[in-house]
Subunit: 131 residues, 2 copies
């Protein structure tokens, strides 16, 4: 298992975004911000089954998360990792937990009828840091 | 040429970071924040020749920039694009301009002896937005 450098592991516990780069169907990079959490072993983020990113990580499990320190934008942590699991989230338990963390609401307010949520679990493989 | 949606083009003029996803030597995504500017046609960011990202964009010109609105983190713009030029910046003119924009200093303060800077020019190909 790859260790997160102790100098930057605090970023994984902050209320900041991870910009998640995945590989699209034609091998091109795709990139967008997500809410995430970290349990000391895996980074988790939510995704709906309708989104391109969900298909991307099923095809190519390698991804990279770029995370800025909200308290010092000249500190960052990049976590390159691989998707080690995609779990259904039928009761929106995980996305509701993220809503609590990020916007202090017990329920995710932007749920759309028909959205099927999953939890993507990422194991760190390599890190880069600045600051 | 791909248009940047008028609803989100203001993000390209703000003092915010672009998280740049490129493709590494083994086809894996890499991702990190950069300063950038936009002239209405291309996005530009600085890079040193010693960095992996410089080699990445020479090998694979497709990249993706994920840009959050600093004034509303639930607005973002993703710009997928291709590198249309890499220009030497021997006098650090461009990186100094970025230092002026981002940290209000006329000269980039973290220049290291031996760093050779280039300016990467990116033409937008596709965009996604939220918020």
């Amino acid at each position: 298992m790859t260790e997160i450098p102790a100098t930057h592991s605090d970023l994984l516990d902050k209320k900041t975004f991870a910009h998640v780069a995945t590989i699209g169907p034609d091998g091109e990079p795709q990139n967008n911000p997500v809410w995430f959490d970290w349990d000391g072993a895996v980074i988790r983020f939510s995704q709906t089954k309708g989104r391109q990113k969900y298909r991307n990580v099923q095809r190519e499990p390698r991804l990279s998360l770029s995370i800025l320190d909200p308290d010092n934008p000249y500190r960052y942590l990049e976590v390159r990792g691989k998707v080690v699991g995609i779990d259904d989230d039928p009761d929106n338990e995980f996305i509701d937990k993220m809503a609590q963390k990020y916007i202090d609401q017990p329920q995710y307010p932007w749920h759309q009828p028909g959205d099927e949520r999953v939890v993507v679990r990422v194991q760190p493989v390599h890190t880069t840091t600045m600051g």
